[in-house]
Structure formats: C-alpha cells, structure tokens
C-alpha cells in the first residue's frame, strides 16, 4: 500500500528560530496518526505545511499523491483542516457557520449529517445562537463539526479537543473512529493521554526534531518522562476552620435561560477546590460571579469575607484570577507583565523587584525575562499567568481551565506550582477538564445543568459511585445532563 502522506526531510525556520529540522515520516491510508509533542515542538508548523499554508524551507511533502508546493490546489480540494485556534465567524449563528463551511467545501449539512451527529446534536438546541457567544468548549465542538462536514480524504486536526469536557472528547473520538471506517485518514495532535492511546501510530516531536515513530504503547514507554509523568503526592493539608468562599442559592439568569441554578457550597481556607462540569454546565458563569465580574441574579455569598452582591471591588483586592485566555499582555515582556499586575495591586517597588527575581527563578524563566510574552510557549505562558495571578499573595486564586492544550509533563509542573501556592495558605479554586487533575484536588464538585450535582473528596465520590477513577464518576454524572449547552 502506498502512503497517503509523505514528509521527506522537511525543515522550516522563522528567522533564527528553527521550527522543524529534517523531519521525515509517512502516513498510510486509513490511519489515525498522532503528532505528539510538547508546546513549541513544531506541530503547528508541520500542520500548516501539510495543508499548503506554508512552504517547507527544505524537503518535500506530498498529500494524496500531490506535492504541497506545486499541486496545492488539488490538495485543497481533498483535505479538511481544523487549526489550533478558533476559526469560526463570531457574528454568525451556529447553524449559519456550519452551513457556510459545508457549502464552502461543496457539500450540504444534510448529506453528511450523520458524520457529525454525535457532536453536533449537543449544540443543535442552540443553533440560533451566535458563535461568538458560545463558551470555549462549545466553540470547539462547532469548529469540529465544521471541519468534518465535507468528509475529506485526509483530515488535519491541530489539538481539536482543547477545552472540551471528557464526555464530549470521548464522543468526538468515537466519531473519529467511525470516520476511519469510512476510509478517512487523520493526522491529529493532542495533549491528552487517552487520546494519544487511541491513535494507530504516533510521531513524537521534540524541539523541532522527530524523536521516533511507533505505536502509542511503545512510544509512551519510551518517552514516559514527558508523556506520562508520575502522579503527584501531597500530604493531607491541615485545613483551617474559616471559610474562604461561602455561597448560598446563587442564581444567574440570562433572559429566560438559567445558567446557574441555586448553587450552594463553601470552601475552606487553604483548600484546593476542583469545580468540574461539562461544557456549558455553568462553571465559568458561576466563577465570574464569585470574582465580581458579574452580578448574581439571586442568592447570597461571601468571598474572602466580602459580599458578592455589594462588595465586588473589595473582593477583587483579595483574589487572583487566571482565565482560559491567559490574559497576559502579548506585547509586553515577561518582567513587564509581572511588574504591571503587581503595580496594579499596589505592591511596593522594592517588593516587586525582589519577588520578580524569586518568581522568575521558581519558574526557571530567568533567561526569558526580556522575552515578549507573545513568543513564549503556551505552557510557560500558563505558569507565568499563574505566578502573576498569585504575585500579590491573594487569599484565594481562581483558575479557569488553566492547563488547556499542554502536554502531561507541563501540566504536572503547573500543578506543582498550585501545590506550592496552597502550601503558602492560598485557597485554590480551579476548573478543569482533565480528570487526572481532579484527583489532585482536595475536594471537587461536579456541576450538571447549572446545579451542583455532587460534592466531596475524590475518594468519597469514587466510593459512592463505585468507579475506579474520577473519569468514570464524571461520565456517570455528565450523561445525566439534559441541557447540552450553555
């Protein structure tokens, strides 16, 4: 059998930065081929060359027998591509986006509906909503549907499930396997271990070099230190009696839609509290109310001892916040970002200078202090964002999906930071879609359809539901959901 995709001795550099060096690989028809590697390993550059968006500096690439440089038009007719960032029209509705992409590729939604049914039926109830108003995970699902709708010969998926909840990821991969039976070849990059395992073969890229190609089982063993680092161990922290967060009957409505429906819970000082839920269950909405970014419709609560209805500005003095977008300033240098946010929280010039050194050392970013944040790898940005959010030693830090899109080793490093912060007495309130991370939390709650369905330590929950890991617990609960979106 002839390979469908061949990459022969390809190199690519941007100015002085070498993105890829002498990479060669072949993908057979019908394969699900994983392109795995930490952030900055050159995956996205490879995808862009495969999809004819970039020229290789050296070497040659063929897709479906066509050369990416000479016959790029032929390639564009037979491939599907889902880039790493959202590629939707924010002012078009869900339905319109899908129809547009279907027509663009010369097909209709009806024709290939069954291909995307599993994913799309979850967002279908909200097909009239504008794509820009969807939550991150929902956008991802829509983007997937758009990339799949035309049933291409080869499908390129650059981290398609970042920010998607475990249940939907599972459904997505079931979908990929169905596509495989239809004869579609797929090249996928992903940071999730369970997804890596679902690939037929995988290539491991590290700093632009190809380290090996083999089945996931072999590769995971060979590169275990990066791909499956050992779990974290933490001694049971001594919790204080006081509450950092107390919420009673919190409700948030948008029009006649109840996003958060009477939730009540409390978090003790020094606790690491995992706030789980499927995409659109209402996590982000709830968190925004706790941070003083939006007003609750009903209900009462205190954060760090201040009322969430009336004392938002007081709350903001005592918390740190890190959102999905890693809202650092791209056009500022590392130290400048630290200095800016420290300054906003009113820290003293000398304190800022001392602590900046400490933080840079802790993060291992001493050499990067003068680098623009724009050019940092994602994992480093995330850790920097976390350090910025905790720089002023807040009582509570809110983390909204802080580790989306990075490899297991980087995520583990991130959690080491969280533990260190918790050891210093900072209460951590975190949302995540990684169920291994849920196990790292002291207690977790799982939200379903705007309500908190269960709350307890991971051990308690696993025992109650008789599951061996949090993944199982989550799937059990999330399947109950009737509402499929935010």
């Amino acid at each position: 059998m002839k390979p469908l995709v061949t990459i022969h001795d390809v190199s690519k550099s941007y100015g002085k930065v070498q993105a890829l060096q002498h990479v060669s690989l072949e993908v057979m028809p019908g394969e699900i081929f994983g392109i795995i590697g930490p952030d900055g390993s050159g995956k996205t550059s490879l995808f862009r060359m495969l999809t004819t968006l970039l020229y290789p500096d050296e070497g040659a690439i063929t897709v479906n027998g066509f050369d990416t440089v000479k016959d790029y038009k032929a390639i564009r007719r037979c491939v599907g591509y889902m880039p790493g960032r959202f590629s939707l029209y924010p002012d078009l509705s869900v339905e319109e986006n899908l129809e547009f992409f279907a027509t663009l590729f010369g097909t209709t939604v009806q024709e290939n509906y069954r291909l995307i049914e599993a994913i799309y039926k979850q967002i279908e109830p909200f097909k009239k909503r504008k794509a820009g108003k969807l939550s991150g995970g929902m956008k991802q699902k829509l983007a997937l549907s758009c990339a799949l709708i035309h049933k291409p010969v080869v499908l390129f998926l650059d981290e398609p499930t970042t920010g998607v909840d475990p249940v939907s990821r599972k459904e997505f991969w079931e979908m990929l396997r169905r596509l495989k039976q239809e004869g579609i070849t797929m090249l996928v990059s992903t940071p999730y271990l369970d997804e890596i395992k679902s690939c037929d073969r995988m290539a491991f890229l590290y700093q632009g070099e190809l380290k090996g190609i083999d089945t996931p089982a072999v590769m995971l063993e060979r590169f275990a230190d990066i791909l499956c680092p050992p779990g974290l161990q933490r001694e049971e922290a001594v919790l204080q009696q006081e509450y950092a967060i107390e919420v009673k009957d919190l409700v948030k409505r948008f029009g006649d839609f109840t996003a958060v429906d009477h939730i009540s819970f409390s978090v003790r000082k020094g606790e690491i509290f995992g706030f789980l839920g499927a995409n659109g269950a209402g996590k982000t909405t709830a968190m925004r109310m706790l941070c003083g970014l939006s007003y609750p419709t009903e209900g009462t609560g205190t954060v760090a001892g201040f009322d969430i209805n009336t004392q938002q500005e007081e709350i903001k003095k005592h918390i740190g916040y890190m959102s999905q977008k890693f809202s650092l300033y791209d056009d500022l240098k590392v130290w400048e970002n630290i200095r800016l946010f420290a300054g906003i929280y009113g820290l003293d010039e000398t304190v800022i200078r001392e602590r900046t050194e400490e933080v840079l050392k802790e993060l291992g970013l001493e050499k990067e202090r003068d680098t623009l944040v724009r050019s940092l790898p994602l994992g480093w940005k995330q850790r920097l964002a976390f350090s910025v959010a905790t720089f002023h030693r807040p009582e509570i830090v809110f983390l909204d999906e802080p580790t989306g899109g990075v490899d297991p080793k980087t995520r583990r490093q991130f959690w080491e930071l969280i533990y260190r912060a918790a050891d210093r007495g900072i209460t951590v309130f975190v949302t995540t879609h990684y169920m291994d991370e849920a196990e790292f939390c002291g207690r977790v709650s799982i939200m379903v359809d705007g309500c908190i369905r269960v709350l307890g330590t991971p051990e308690e929950l696993k025992r109650t539901f008789g599951e061996k890991d949090m993944d199982g617990v989550f799937h059990r609960l999330a399947r109950e959901a009737t509402r499929k979106s935010d």
Binding site: R48, T52, E96, L104
Partner: protein, 363 residues
C-alpha cells in the same frame, strides 16, 4: 458558484448584524448631504461691525444705518477710541470696524477731505475680501444716495443661481462615500479574517482566492448602490440639484470607481495584518488625500503644480470631474472618455497588482 453565494451571504450577515456600523454606513451620506447642503456655506452673513465715529453726525449715522440694514452686516458695538479697535478684534467681538475721520460731515461738504476706513479682520482672507467689498459697495451707495445718477451693476450667478455649493459637493460626497465604504470595508473585512483565523480555513478550502475577493466585493457594491441612490434622491428632491445627464453613464462611472476602491482596499489588506493598521491606513492615509486633493472641498485649480500632479493619481478626482460633467452640466459619454479611460486603467492595474500580491498562503 454555490460556494460563492454562500460567501456573499455570510458577508451580508456580517454587515447587517453590526447595527451600529450599518447605521453609520447608511446614515453617513445623509448627514454629509445635509451638512454640506444646509450647514456649510461660505456666503457672508451677519458680519459683525464695530463703528468708531468720533463725531456722530447725520451722514455718518446714515452710513451706519445703511450698513446695519444690509443683510450681510450687523452693527454690534460702538467704539470710542482707536485703541479699542485692536482689543475688539483680539477678543473676537467684531469682524469689521468702520472708522470715520473726525468731523466727517463737515469735511465731506467743505474741505473734501473726509476719510473713511474699513478695518477688516483678515484671518480668514475670503470672508475678509467679501466683507470689505460688500461694505465698500454699501457705503459708496449711501454716500451717493442724494448725488447724481450712478452706475448699477447687475450680477448674475450662472448655473447656480442661489449660489448653492451643492453643485460642487454632491459629486464630492459621492466619491468620498464610495471610497470609504469600498476601500475601507474591504480592507478591514479581509484583515479581520486573518486576525480571527478564519482565513486559514478558507485558504485550505477548495474555493479560489479570486472568489473570496469577489464575494467580499458584492455586499459593498450593493451598499454603495444604496448610498448612491440616497445621495441622488436627496440631491434631487431636497437640494433641488437635478441630474442633467444620463443616469446610466453615472452608474457606469460609479461602478468604475467602486472597482478601483475595492482593489485599493484589497491592496491595503495585503500589506497589513491587523485591523487597527488596516483602519488607520485606509482611514487616514487613504481618506485624507481624497478629501483634500480630489477637489471635493477645495478647488484643485488653486493648488501648486506639484500637488496637481499628486492629485492626478487620486482616482476620486477623476470620478468627481466626470460626475460634475455628467450630472451638473449634462454632458455625454464623449465629454468624459478621458476620465473613463484613466479610471479603467487604474482599476485594471490595481486589481492585477493586488491579485498578484494576495497570498494564498500564510507566508
């Protein structure tokens, strides 16, 4: 073809959903026509007159009265000392000061040595010239009222009997609006796709890049059509500026300018990669020369040669020239062939240039 229309459709959605922008795009020509038509005028009106009349007598009073009766002048204050003149001007209280020599009447009838000086604030040279000329006329008439027969000068203002500047600006507004909508919107809408990342997917799709560009053009073409219609309707029914020539020819000329503008917008979008830059470049670097050098507000004939050369490369200038001929003077195709050729060459050259520059890859 289906792909093409799908594209056109989303581009329409995009415009219609941003209510505020659409309101401004459709309202801009209306506001401009209203402002230019009714608010902006260089006609002399209510010029404020100060009088310095050391010895008020019958003759001087009559002269001042005549001046005050005139619709161009309002006597607003009486000064008592030559020193006050300077102050009055500096405080911006008066525009013209009429200064009589002492003992005016006596000198007028006996010594023949009466002096009358008009002091004009010439910061605005045009207004100053007009004010001085009118005032002199009024005063000369007043002086001769009881004298012998005089020379009457009858003035005719041709083509534009009410001195309406509409004849001058309607073509200008048309040119500006077309440039604004087509060039700026195209540039911004393409650059936005680059910024949001949708361009990446579009490029990988089988649609040809020519269609991407054409699809961007269609909605703005329609919008420009609506705007042109509004402008023409307003100018005919509100400003009473008739369309003397062929509507078809006018439409054809507009279409040519739209093509040039679209190509320009496309060209800008090839040069920049973020919306702010696209807007600043098309807003400031494209718009300002159009407003200044196209003859829309300022006549091109009083420009120095170098600027005239420069204004020759501005498409809107040729468009405005041609529209004036067709719309106001009612001339036909023969009169505007030169403009048509120039615009066509510009359109073709720019389209070719931007199609060559338009990258169907990311590099």
């Amino acid at each position: 073809m289906k792909q093409f229309w799908a594209f056109v459709k989303i581009e329409f959605y995009h415009i219609f959903r941003d209510k505020r922008t659409m309101l401004i795009l459709l309202g801009m020509p209306v506001i401009q026509i209203v402002l230019f038509g009714f608010a902006i005028s260089t006609e002399l009106k209510n010029s404020r007159v100060g009088v310095l009349d050391p010895v008020s007598d019958r003759t001087t009073r009559r002269i001042v009265e005549r001046l005050d009766e005139n619709r161009y002048f309002d006597v607003v204050c009486y000064l008592h000392d030559p020193q006050e003149i300077e102050d009055a001007f500096r405080q911006g209280k008066v525009d013209v000061v009429v200064q009589f020599s002492p003992d005016f009447e006596n000198n007028l009838y006996h010594t023949g040595n009466a002096g009358l000086q008009l002091v004009v604030d010439a910061t605005d040279p045009n207004t100053a010239t007009m004010a001085a000329n009118y005032a002199q006329g009024v005063m000369a008439t007043a002086l001769q009222e009881e004298g012998q027969a005089q020379v009457a000068i009858q003035t005719h203002l041709l083509f534009n009997p009410q001195m309406k500047s509409a004849y001058n600006f309607v073509p200008g507004v048309m040119g500006l609006i077309l440039m604004l909508i087509c060039a700026m919107m195209t540039a911004v809408s393409i650059v936005r796709e680059k910024e949001t990342g949708t361009m990446e997917v579009l490029l990988v799709s089988p649609i040809r890049s020519v269609f991407i560009i054409l699809a961007k053009a269609v909605p703005y073409l329609v919008l420009s059509g609506i705007n042109l219609t509004t402008i023409l309707l307003l100018s005919v029914y509100v400003l009473h500026v008739p369309v003397a020539g062929s509507l078809l020819l006018l439409a054809f000329l507009s279409f040519l300018l739209i093509a040039v503008a679209l190509a320009l917008g496309l060209f800008v979008s090839c040069l920049v990669d973020n919306q702010v830059a696209a807007m600043l470049i098309s807003g400031m670097v494209l718009m300002m020369p159009v407003m200044l050098l196209s003859g829309m507000i300022f006549p091109t004939e009083s420009m120095p040669v170098v600027l005239l050369w420069l204004s020759d490369i501005i498409p809107a200038k040729w468009y405005i020239l041609a529209v004036k001929k067709v719309m106001i003077e009612g001339l036909g195709l023969v009169a505007v062939w030169k403009e048509i050729i120039i615009l066509s060459v510009m359109a073709v050259a720019l389209i070719v240039l931007s199609l060559v520059k338009f990258k169907d890859r990311l590099e």
